[in-house]
Amino acid sequence: MIPAAFKYSKAGSVREAVAQLREAGPEAKVIAGGQSLIPLLRLRLSQPTHLVDVNGVRELDYVHPEGDVLRVGALTRHSTLARSELVQRHLPLLAEMAAQVGDPQIRARGTLGGVFAHADAAGDYPTLAVMLDATIVTDRRRVAARDFFQHLFTTVLAEDELVCEVVFPMAPGPHRYLKFRRRLYDWAIVGAAVQKLDSGWRVGLTHVGPTAVRAAAVEARLLAGATFQEAAGAAAEELDPPSDVRASADYRRHLARVLTRRALEQAA
């Protein structure tokens, strides 16, 4: 529980952060809330040579509604998202997810951008981003969420690239996010998110594979008029969930179906 030595610098702007990352080289890491990075450092599972602290990059802490999208700055904390009236009005599912992240201390520190950059399979926001076709904006480009996540803990981000913003479509309609977990503060063993749009239901799944999954087969069945029960039966199609001490892959597939149905029932 003792981290290895690293250098540390503070950035006050996106430009500074990127410059510091570039100078520090390929083994540098960005630290924002430290929600996942601090445990990894303490366990020495991650041994970066340099940490660039972006907590001072105030320009990335915002929630901006703009036309039919909601732009959220990467440094926005979970607790801010959970409480934000703008988020509750335009994308209440994001507020619902934010309120279920970790415990109050973690929600006060952890950031939206950190979740995207870290790309944990159990992260909640990536599910929302993938199912709603959100866009991730970095210091140099815009990437569709479905293209952003490549594998477990792996994104398209370059070593010196910083997540700056996530652009979500507004979606004020019926929605629900269900996390199945052993303890209130745990990550989801499996999570299921549903959002009603004018064009039909969007369905996403958390922690059923290396990256967040959009359950297109469920969406298609719903569009074709299937009942929630029938549609949710397709939730585990093409999933390759992990087996670990918490749950077997079979059990995760089963949970994907059950949670999808329950989320649809509770949202409608």
């Binding site: 030595a5 303890r183 503060y185």
Partner: protein
């Protein structure tokens, strides 16, 4: 100052203002000038030969003072770490254990080298640079595999992996089974648990070469035993070793036995001639602090059709780990207590201690008694299930009712009223109401279950004859010393050790009440071998009040006896003519003739004492209890199992316990609540998992080892009955482990009751959702 009744009062814990405002002083809060920091290099393998250790890179790191291996430690340490007879006196194989591995490592986490550096970060960095070359050897982590012929050997030079194999015979088991009209069999697992004290272990040592004095600060439940063990291993006279166990953030049994670091840190201090401190990380704690439970039971119960219990035959396979825990065989008391609160014609219990390539097991809150209770209460429920009887009715039919009650193994339960706690628990839990709700829920396809646990425990270790045999020499009695200082303040020293139990409050209440002084006048001290009685026996096994409290009580009585003589002298009356009430001696019939005990205390340091009386007012007393004490109770748990996900929700939890007379009801309730929480944790959440193939620990962080939080735990409804113990003058028993002993059986019986309509009769712990889902899937096929 007049004193009102303190015994039985809800006095607020006097230690709390300090502890909850962050002013506790734990090991890491202690420092010394010139302090150095130690990190341990540990084996990543469950079993391997050490081919070589290259510490050059570590030594070259600036700020690193030394890297020590077994060869260095042999210069200052000798002997093997202690193993007591406990309940398995005839051991077949006890592997030697030096605190650090030399040629072979036998569990993941076993120390191989230590690094001492100027700060903790450097020590950790340098530990990473120590290159150890291993040749992996075949490992075995499953005790049932380890005990079978052809298993890999846990120690490559061992004869086999059998630590002990013995049978306790209690009555004619063949005759009992011969009369049986119904026999049920079950295989019951007790998963390994990690005790998870809030404060991990820690040791700071300062060896002074000039006067050959060693001072150890250490997070321990029994500092005097550590002094005995460490002084022996280091060849330093016991009188020159001081062990201080200051505020300790929880133990749960995991801080009883000596650990390798308890020897390595002082030895490193002697080798370096610098003070050295080691603080266990949480990762080290899960991997290398002892585990609890780790047992597999196979059991058969025989009964008559009317529900009369006849016989119980069982085998306990106890996963010892790579070495015997110092008190590891204590856990065999599961066998001796497997009959619970019932009358059986006969019980036959075989216990097999099996070595595996894992960290040793040792007593963990309850230590054998939760396992015995869980086994008994599961088997009794299985009999009721088989006969279609209400489990409460079957229990009542078989309760022991005449006390003292001698169980099948000759242990004598001092007092009990099992009907009383059961009746109250059924009433408080609305048992009949839940049975009705259960029936209607079942019609809707919902799975509600009601589970009972009627439990008894052996605690208050203990009488000198059996406990001296169990430790191999030292009786687990208790010592206390009480001193009146001239000003009338009272210093009370006791050989037990508080690490969450609230002794500062309970014991002060007891001393203040007995001596008739204000609570504030009593200063309760423990945990430092430099003060108080010559030996203290520590806190474990719910012994502190029934043995340590009694030692304080008997010391108080000695003081009162002397004070009475002195007061009589001062009042010019006969000692027998004095009354002692509210802290003052008065002459019977003449209330004006009065001396408070504090006035007597001052006079005791003066010049006008009766002839032959020495100055001072103090006493040292040892209490050797005539028997153990036997708390008991009845718990009722109601659960609902989610038929789709297997998730268990506790709908209601009720505990009615009887620990005899109560000094502080608030502290008793806190102990029961905490115990229930820890036992629900076993029933539903916690499990140490090793990979069967690689022998690697899979639950090495708090992310994977699921300690539940307040969010996952119910607020239990609690009540008490009071059946005083005849074993001691205070009429007290113990309560520290009660909840842990009671609850797992109540929860699992409830889960099994919920799943009964599906044809499921037994569920192992933890009853996790994936496990229950799998069982329901299999039952549905």
């Amino acid at each position: 100052m007049a004193v009102t009744q303190l015994i039985g009062a809800r006095v607020q814990r006097r230690e709390d203002p300090r502890l909850i405002t962050g002013h506790g002083r734990f090991i890491e809060d202690h420092t010394l000038p010139g302090l150095t920091h130690l990190a341990v290099v540990r084996s990543p393998h469950p079993h391997a030969r050490i081919l070589g250790i290259d510490s050059a890179a570590a030594r070259a790191l600036p700020g690193v003072l030394a890297v020590f291996t077994a060869a260095d430690f042999h210069k200052v340490l000798s002997g093997s770490m202690p193993v007591t007879p406990s309940f398995a006196p005839e051991k077949k194989y006890v592997p030697e254990r030096f605190p650090i591995a030399e040629r072979e490592v036998c569990f993941q986490g076993e120390p191989v080298a230590v690094v001492v550096a100027q700060d903790r970060y450097l020590a950790a960095d340098a530990a990473d640079l120590v290159q150890v070359t291993y040749e992996p050897l075949p490992a075995v982590v499953d005790p049932e595999v380890a005990m079978s012929p052809g298993s890999p050997l846990v120690h490559s030079d061992g004869p086999d992996n059998i630590g002990w194999d013995m049978t306790y015979a209690g009555g004619d088991i063949e005759a009992a089974f011969g009369r049986a009209e119904v026999v049920v069999k079950e295989r019951i697992l007790q998963q390994r648990l990690a005790p998870t004290a809030m404060e991990p272990r820690g040791v700071m040592a300062s060896y002074s070469p000039y006067d050959e004095q060693l001072t150890l600060w250490l997070s321990s439940q029994n500092p005097h035993f550590i002094r005995l063990f460490v002084s022996g291993a280091m060849g330093i006279p016991e009188s020159r070793v001081r062990v201080v166990s200051p505020d300790v953030g929880g133990g749960f049994g995991s801080k009883i036995s000596p650990y390798p670091e308890d020897y390595l840190v002082p030895a490193a201090s002697k080798l370096l001639q610098r003070p050295v401190r080691w603080i266990e990380t949480r990762t080290e704690s899960v991997m290398t602090t002892i585990h609890g439970r780790g047992q597999v039971f196979t059991a058969e119960a025989a009964a008559l059709r009317d529900g009369t219990l006849l016989g119980l035959r069982l085998t306990q396979v106890l996963d010892l780990g790579a070495y015997h825990g110092t008190f590891g065989a204590f856990q065999a008391c599961a066998c001796l207590m497997s009959g619970g609160v019932y009358r059986w014609e006969a019980i036959s219990a075989r216990t097999v201690g099996v070595l595996t390539n894992k960290v040793p097991t040792d007593p963990y809150r309850g230590a054998g008694r939760p396992e015995g209770t869980h086994l008994c209460e599961r088997m009794v429920d299985r009999v009721a299930d088989e006969l279609g009887m209400d489990p409460a009715e079957l229990r009542r039919k078989n309760f022991a009712r005449e006390f003292p009650f001698q169980n099948n193994f000759g242990l004598t339960y001092d007092s009990g009223n099992y009907d009383g706690t059961l009746d109250r628990a059924l009433e408080l839990s609305d048992y009949q109401g839940w049975r009705r709700r259960q029936a209607s829920a079942r019609e809707e396809g919902r799975l509600i279950g009601v589970g009972l646990s009627t439990w008894v425990e052996i605690c208050g270790l203990g009488p000198s004859a059996p406990t001296a045999a169990a430790t191999g020499g030292i009786a687990l009695v208790e010592a206390a010393q009480i001193r009146f200082l001239p000003s009338g303040s009272v210093a009370a020293y006791v050989g037990t050790h508080a690490h969450g139990q609230g002794h500062d409050t309970t014991f002060s209440q007891l001393v203040a009440e007995t001596l008739g002084v204000p609570l504030e006048a009593v200063d309760l001290r423990h945990g430092d071998t430099a003060e108080g009685p010559s030996f203290g026996y520590g806190t474990y096994g719910s012994r502190s009040l029934a043995v340590g409290g009694m030692a304080l009580y008997t010391a108080s009585q000695e003081i009162l006896a002397k004070a009475r003589k002195l007061a009589a002298h001062l009042l010019e009356a006969a000692p027998d003519d004095l009354e002692f009430t509210e802290g003052a001696f008065t002459v019977r019939g003449n209330p004006q003739a009065k001396k408070t005990i504090q006035e007597v205390a001052l006079a005791s340091y003066g010049g006008s004492l009766p002839q032959g009386m020495e100055q001072g007012l103090e006493a040292v007393s040892h209490f050797d209890p005539p028997n153990f004490v036997w708390p008991f109770g009845a718990h009722v748990c109601v659960v609902e199992v989610d038929r789709e996900t297997g998730a268990v929700e506790i709908l209601s939890y009720t505990g009615v316990d009887d620990c005899g007379n109560v000094i502080n009801p608030m502290i008793v309730e806190g102990q029961v609540q905490g115990g229930i929480a820890q036992s629900i944790a076993q029933a539903l959440f916690e499990e140490v998992v090793y990979d069967g193939e690689s022998g690697q620990l899979l639950t090495g962080t708090m992310l994977d080892y699921l300690v539940p939080t307040m969010n996952e735990l119910p607020t239990p409804k609690l009540d008490r009955t009071v059946t005083p113990s005849p074993t001691n003058a205070l009429g007290v028993k113990g309560i520290g482990e009660a909840g842990t002993i009671a609850a797992s059986a109540a929860v699992i019986n409830a889960v099994c009751d919920a799943l009964r309509p599906l044809g499921i009769h037994h569920v192992d712990m933890p009853a996790s959702p994936d496990r229950l889902w799998r069982l329901m899937q299999e039952a549905g096929r």
